[in-house]
């Protein structure tokens, strides 16, 4: 029988065993069977791979965005820097600057030589300020309390409160440091117009109110006049560190140097007397320095007055050089200047009287161009603090200041702020005052701002932004305009209008745009000088009697002098590691706060301060406040006095400035004007807590070595300009002694094109250290932090060696290690000497350091294997080794944010490699600048002009002590300064004798002051030093 069979498919028909097995299953279980090729192991493999791939992908280096311009601005070329004139303003400190902007980022600040005030000079603080722009501590935007906010909200809340206060007639105060900017003052006027109960209170952390007050009383105007040290032949400074920190140090340094220069044609120099307690930069540069106590200060000034006026004596005796100074001042009337750092108006009145007797008014003092650097009024500030604490103020706006930290009543003020209904700070960082305020209307950094300044009457300068604001900050002036309800709140337009209305009329022949462009281009603008002069008509007798009652010829007990340092200043830049690591010009200490004490006092107190900076903490009490800082034994410190620096002990500060020292502002004396020296009730108490101060130089004298520093007295120099050479080392040949370097087996290199060299004038170098910071910024020099400085591993390519004189004989090696009680000081900038016979070059096994055809000693970082033999063999010890990786290393985050934070890295100079660990580095004579100069010249098909290539240190040097140039160019400034005479030699060309220029390494230098350090070892440096000349009388050398 045939049964009809239907089959599902061929498999059923064939009765495939596979089919039979699954025939009864509705869904065939195919999973395993079908995936036969993929086992469990494969799954694990796949999973492993995916996980690994995913994690590898996650490990990929972070993508750094570099976004090209869609349409490139006309004047911005990648890789080519632009320079913009601008103005540095910090508190009342002022400097006209030129900002180097590379690819939209400001990376370097240099002086603006068009300015008649700062004349192209800068200071360490100015040079360092560019890094503050990229400070991680800066506010990212406005803040309400601790919370980041936005401008709309904060404006709404502030306006509401302001209106509330205005409605009830409450008092509003704007507290600020000196305001240099006329436009800012105008903007504040707008604010005041809207809120008439507003009062502006200006104060300065380091007050000059005593001078203003004295001038008001004695010359009839509350001004601070201009001083001109370049016109003075005899200068007496009583505690005024005008080269370091007093009033306008950049300007004064520049002026001072003019009269310190000695050339073949100019054989006169000024003489500087310093009477002071701490060894200051000015004292270190003085020809005669006398250590006095602050309690004597007034009497010293009074005695000077009496000696000059011939009106008896104050009874003070034993002030060395005072009579001599008085006699010389008198003899040089009209070319003399007396300045005092005292903030006591009586002292300043007498100083004015002395200057009046000497005819300084109209010569070295110009009252018709008063300076605006310090307009602070201590009385108003004290009154404000009193008002604030008693609840009489309803609203405070802090602008450009940080009084909670830098005013002696800061603590009270900080507490009082809690009770004030509106407290606003316009700080750029959440500093002490800002964090005590309810609102922070975060300001731009000055490099992001429009602004103007009037440093001196009728001298103006402009600030322009050099970068788009990095954060959501807003210029403080704009905030004032917004709160004033102005229609135009754009501060740029405001400044421009202000200038248009005030100055445009004054200049002729230019259209408005051209006028504005020129001002912006120059950065400065001058109105005709004022003719309003003031003359002295003060009451000397009452000042003298006030002095007689407050000052004492001899005082028992310690006295305290509170001073500003060149690096940290008032402390506003305490979060700037460039300044923290800048060695103090005198103590060479970095990253530390200390009290300076004389050796005798230290011995009495049992303070041991060894060469390595190991010391003990001491408690210093004054005016009822105590601070605990390390003791540093300081030669030159007046016995019985202590010196404590301001600027330390910031509590609300970024990572860099954290926990460094203690705040000395609370120790200041309150009074009519703030007192920076405390003469009674000062206590010092030694503790047993050890402390090590990080100093970059731990040996104080040059051990009587005639080959390091050469110096002469002016009289000796005039008698025989080569007088120093008699003491200089000679080389003994078989029959006679010959100058070092004259014997050589080797002919040396020949530099047919350029022969770069440097001349450093020890006479005009004041030791201020701005070159050190400039070099750091220009060359991306790593900062290493306190511990590494203690380990003697600071990376500075350029350092300033500071040597004290000693009383010991040259063969008394133990005695030579001790500095005199009141030493003479010499500063010697020390950098790679670019030796022609460089000892570093021969010893490198891999030829990583080689000689260029232009006389440079070059370092090839990527060839260096780090044997350090070159550093050992460097007689000048200028080579620096990368002991660790200083970049992208969290261990150096605190000390070196410029290489360890994304924000900080923006400051790095793209033309200079950031060195990796394990390689050697050193001064390159700013090779990148030489290269840029040569390329420019090449593009224009011409030789490099003298002055076209300027090293960073040279540009930073206010006094022109550092001069760089081509020694092959007979017309270059360096050739002229050194008196290089072109030499010729005879060669045989095609059988004929010809005379050609000798481009060898031995330049014939005729300047009698020129010498090379360690000449006798025959390395033949390309850096010449000009001897230091002290304007001292011959016989007084032993006095």
């Amino acid at each position: 029988m045939t049964t009809k069979t239907y089959w599902k498919g061929l498999a059923q028909l064939k009765n495939d065993p596979k089919f039979v097995k699954n025939a009864d299953k509705e869904f065939v279980d195919l999973a395993v069977e079908e995936d036969a090729g993929h086992s469990r192991r494969d799954f694990l493999k796949m999973m492993g791979f995916s996980v690994a791939a995913a994690s590898l992908a996650a490990c990929e280096a972070p993508i750094r965005k570099a976004i090209p311009y869609v349409s490139k601005p006309v004047d911005a070329d990648p890789g080519i820097p632009n320079y913009y004139a601008s103005t540095y303003i910090n508190g009342g400190d002022y400097c006209s600057i030129v900002v180097k902007v590379r690819d939209g980022r400001p990376i370097k600040v240099e002086g603006n030589s068009l300015s008649k005030v700062t004349m192209g000079g800068t200071s360490a603080q100015v040079e360092a300020s560019v890094l503050s722009l990229y400070d991680n501590f800066r506010l990212r935007g406005p803040r309400i309390g601790e919370k980041l906010s936005d401008w709309e909200t904060i404006d709404k809340e502030i306006l509401a409160k302001l209106n509330e206060i205005a409605a009830k007639g409450g008092q509003i105060r704007i507290v600020s440091n000196t305001i240099l900017s006329p436009s800012t003052k105008a903007a504040i006027e707008k604010f005041k117009a809207k809120y008439p109960t507003t009062k502006v209170v200006q104060y300065d952390p380091v007050s000059y109110y005593g001078i203003t007050k004295a001038n008001q009383e004695s010359i009839g105007a509350a001004i601070i006049p201009s001083y001109d040290f370049s016109k003075a032949k005899v200068i007496v400074s009583v505690g005024a560190d005008f080269l370091g920190t007093w009033l306008s140090p950049i300007e004064f340094t520049k002026q001072f140097a003019v009269n310190r220069e000695i050339t073949a044609d100019k054989k006169e120099m000024s003489r500087l007397y310093a009477f002071e307690s701490n060894l200051s930069l000015t004292g270190a540069n003085a020809d005669y320095r006398t250590a006095i106590k602050p309690s004597q200060e007034g009497l010293v000034v009074a005695q000077l007055y009496k000696l000059i006026s011939g009106s008896g004596s104050t009874g003070i005796e034993g002030i060395t050089y005072l009579e001599k100074a008085a006699a010389e001042l008198k003899a040089n009337a009209g070319k003399a200047l007396v300045v005092s750092g005292s903030n006591d108006k009586h002292v300043q009145v007498v100083v004015n009287a002395i200057n009046n007797l000497l005819g300084s008014y109209g010569t070295t003092i110009n009252t018709s161009a008063p300076v605006n650097f310090r307009q602070g009024n201590d009385e108003e500030m004290s009154a404000f603090v009193a008002e604030a604490t008693s609840g009489k103020v309803d609203g405070v706006i802090f602008y450009n200041c940080n009084p909670v930290y830098d005013h002696p009543q800061g603590a009270e003020l900080g507490k009082a702020l809690k009770g004030i209904s509106l407290t606003v700070s316009t700080s750029t960082t959440p500093d002490e005052t800002a964090s005590a305020s309810a609102y922070i209307a975060a300001d731009h950094h000055y490099l992001e701002s429009w602004n103007d300044a009037e440093p001196k009457l009728n001298s103006f300068s402009l600030s322009q932004p050099t970068i788009t604001p990095i954060f959501k900050t807003r210029q403080a002036q704009e905030s004032f305009l917004v709160w004033a309800g102005e229609a135009t709140t754009d501060y740029f337009t405001f400044v421009q209008n202000y200038w248009k209305n005030r100055f445009y009329g004054a200049s002729t022949g230019l259209d408005l745009q051209s006028f504005w462009d020129k001002c912006l281009y120059d950065g400065v603008f001058e109105l005709p000088a004022s003719t309003q002069a003031y003359s002295f008509n003060g009451n000397v007798d009452s000042a003298l009697s006030a002095i007689a009652s407050t000052y004492k010829a001899s005082n028992s007990g310690f006295e305290l002098v509170i001073y500003e340092t060149c690096g940290l200043g008032t402390g506003s830049q305490a979060n700037n590691p460039l300044l923290q690591e800048l060695p103090d010009p005198i103590t060479k200490a970095t990253w530390d706060h200390y009290v300076t004490i004389s050796l005798k006092d230290a011995e009495t107190l049992g303070i041991e301060n060894d060469a390595e900076g190991r010391t003990q903490l001491v408690n210093v009490s004054a005016n009822g406040k105590t601070i605990t800082v390390a003791a540093l034994v300081q030669p030159g410190q007046a016995q019985g006095t202590l010196g404590v620096a301001l600027g330390y002990g910031r509590t609300s500060v970024g990572l860099v400035g954290k926990d460094i020292g203690q705040n000395a502002y609370p120790l200041l004396s309150l009074g009519e004007s703030l007192g920076y020296s405390i003469t009674s009730g000062v206590k010092i108490e030694k503790t047993d807590t050890p402390f090590q101060i990080a100093q970059t130089q731990i040996h104080q004298t040059y051990m009587g070595r005639a080959n390091v520093v050469q110096e002469s007295l002016l009289a000796d120099y005039l008698h025989n300009p080569q007088e120093w050479n008699e003491k200089a080392p000679k080389i003994t040949s078989w029959d006679k002694k010959v100058p070092p370097g004259s014997l050589s087996l080797w002919k040396g290199h020949e530099y047919k094109n350029h022969h770069w060299g440097m001349a450093i004038d020890l006479n005009t170098c004041t030791g201020c250290g701005s070159c050190v910071v400039a070099c750091n910024v220009e060359n991306n020099v790593a900062l290493v932090g306190k511990q590494e400085v203690i380990n003697r591993r600071e990376m500075h390519w350029l350092r300033i060696d500071r040597y004290y004189s000693t009383e010991a004989a040259v063969d008394d090696y133990q005695g030579l290690e001790k500095a005199s009680d009141n030493p003479e000081v010499v500063f010697q900038p020390m950098l790679c000497q670019h030796c022609n016979n460089a000892p570093c070059e021969t010893v490198c096994p891999v030829a990583a350091t080689t000689h260029s055809t232009e006389g440079l000693n070059q370092m090839t970082y990527n060839r260096c294997i780090g044997t350090r033999y070159c550093a050992n063999n460097c007689p000048y010890k200028v080579r620096r080794f990368n002991w660790f990786k200083y970049h992208d290393n969290q261990k150096f985050l605190q000390a070196n944010p410029a290489m360890n934070t994304d924000l900080g890295r923006m400051v790095l100079n793209p033309d200079v490699t950031v060195r990796s660990r394990g390689v050697m580095e050193k001064c390159s004579f700013c090779a990148q600048r030489i290269q840029a100069g040569k390329l420019n010249a090449k593009k224009e098909r011409r030789p490099v002009q003298d002055g076209e290539v300027v090293t960073a240190c040279q540009a930073a040097c206010s006094t022109g002590a550092i001069l760089f140039g081509d020694m092959n160019d007979p017309e270059s400034k360096i050739s002229k300064v050194l008196g290089i005479e072109t030499q010729y030699k005879k060669v045989i060309v095609d059988g004929k004798e010809e005379t050609v220029v000798d481009y060898g390494i031995d330049k014939k230098v005729t300047n009698p002051r020129a010498y090379r350090v360690l000449e006798e070892i025959g390395v033949k440096p390309n850096i010449f030093y000009l001897t230091k000349i002290r304007n001292k009388d011959k016989e007084s050398k032993n006095a």
Binding site: A611, Q814, T867, Y876, K877
Partner: protein
């Protein structure tokens, strides 16, 4: 013909026969290691591992973990380097120069001394490598390898490059010389193993002995090679430390810049090398009971070498001072003044006491034939020689020309660690050698049993 003085004491005591020699020396290779060997090896390994940790940290973090600074760029690293290289010199002197001079007393000690040389040179070489900031590049950039970087090559002016050649040549020649000497002895161990039926050992030592067959022709070739290598090694004894001394002598650093350095360094090297050989052999002969092979007479002879070289070194020290005074160069005068009276005076006076005064005690026969006294003094000499290098390197550069840069050097744990590392390495290697290799040259000792053994056969 050997001219053996009749008054000369026997070099091998205890009436050893040829068979005794094989037995006494091979025994240590064949037996299981003793407990004391394990302890010694364990301690060495611990030192090695601790040191390795320090070395790894150095390489990971940077040279900054050491105590060096901007002024003192070399300290313990190069001190240790020179110290170890110096120690190595005794081995070469004993095996090469004394071979040429036919000094038979060297035969009992040359094997261990050469092993010491090789291990010491390895230890020494770790320092120039580790002290480089960028070892990963430096180890081959310092060699004149052909490359594609144009004219970029090693700098033949640099004494450091000379060092590279000197040390590597020295190491190679020493290693070959040592190994050639080992071949017949390996064959002895192989033959004994074959007899004892230990196939593994027989195979290993067969390979090590390159299938030595002991034929007269083989012996002849062996001796020729040994003589040629001795001839090659001889100048190396003088050249290596001369070149090491150039690292300092060719510089401009006061205290380094001295023409006296080459002979002074070579004498110092032999001085310290002999002291180290003594230290090691006094222990080895005790542990392995080899008093009959390394006799008091051997020790006395080595002590005489120590008096001679120690005195040369002492004269060199005094000469340096004389020249510093006579030369009237202030910086150099100060460098020497500073050595004796400056902050490192203790290092200087340790050096003087250990190197100049203490070896003079060996003028007393009682002391130079006293094992305990010799052992103590041999260690003192090596302490002194370490201080010598420290004094030369650190006290010269820590205060050189510009007082502004003067600074001190303070060692860290890692400075110590790297030193310990080389001790660990040295002793680990030495104990492995003592266990697995015949510590005394059996073949050579057998050749003098007839002429210089106590009991004539």
């Amino acid at each position: 013909m050997q001219a053996t003085s009749s008054v000369r004491e026997s070099l091998i005591t205890g009436g050893k026969t040829v068979r005794d020699v094989s037995e006494d020396i091979s025994r240590h290779v064949e037996n299981k290691p003793t407990g004391s060997w394990w302890i010694a090896m364990g301690i060495s390994l611990i030192l090695f591992l601790f040191g390795f940790y320090c070395l790894a940290t150095l390489l990971w973090e940077g040279i900054g973990v050491w105590g060096l600074n901007k002024t003192v760029g070399w300290a313990w690293d190069i001190t240790n380097f020179v110290w170890w290289v110096g120690i190595g010199h005794a081995g070469t002197l004993i095996s090469a120069i004394l071979l040429l001079f036919r000094q038979k007393w060297r035969m009992s000690i040359n094997r261990a001394a050469e092993a010491m040389t090789i291990f010491a040179v390895i230890c020494a070489a770790t320092f120039p490598l580790a002290h480089m900031g960028r070892l990963w590049l430096g180890f081959y950039w310092a060699l004149p390898l052909p490359n594609t970087w144009g004219s970029l090559w090693a700098n033949f002016n640099s004494p450091l490059l000379w060092d590279v050649f000197a040390i590597s040549t020295y190491f190679t020649v020493s290693l070959v010389f040592w190994y050639i000497g080992l071949i017949p002895d390996f064959a002895v161990i192989r033959d004994r193993a074959t007899r004892m039926g230990n196939k593994t050992r027989a195979a290993i030592y067969n390979a090590l002995s390159f299938g030595w067959d002991g034929a007269a022709k083989t012996w002849m070739r062996y001796e020729s090679v040994a003589l040629i290598l001795a001839g090659l090694s001889t100048p190396l004894v003088l050249s290596v430390h001369t070149i090491v001394s150039f690292d300092f002598a060719t510089s401009v650093v006061p205290g380094w810049h001295t023409t006296i350095f080459p002979p002074y360094f070579v004498a110092g090297a032999i001085f310290s090398g002999f002291a180290m050989v003594l230290t090691l052999l006094i222990v080895t002969r005790k542990v392995f009971k080899l008093e009959d092979y390394i006799t008091i007479y051997h020790i006395e002879l080595m002590n005489i070498v120590i008096i001679i070289t120690g005195s040369i070194v002492g004269i060199a020290y005094i000469t340096e001072f004389f020249v510093a005074w006579y030369g009237m160069v202030p910086a150099e005068f100060y460098a020497f003044y500073n050595r004796a009276t400056g902050p490192y005076w203790w290092a200087y006076w340790s050096m003087m006491t250990c190197n100049v005064i203490s070896p003079q005690l060996f003028w007393f026969k009682k002391l130079r034939t006293n094992i305990a006294a010799t052992f103590v003094l041999s260690i003192i000499v090596n302490i002194g020689m370490w201080f010598e290098r420290f004094v030369i390197i650190v006290t010269s550069i820590h205060r050189d020309y510009l007082p502004s840069s003067w600074s001190m050097f303070y060692p860290t744990m890692y400075d110590l660690g790297e030193y310990i590392f080389t001790f660990g390495l040295f002793f680990t290697a030495f104990f492995l050698f003592a266990k697995f290799f015949p510590v005394i040259n059996m073949a050579e000792v057998k050749s003098i049993i007839k002429s210089s053994s106590e009991k004539k056969h």
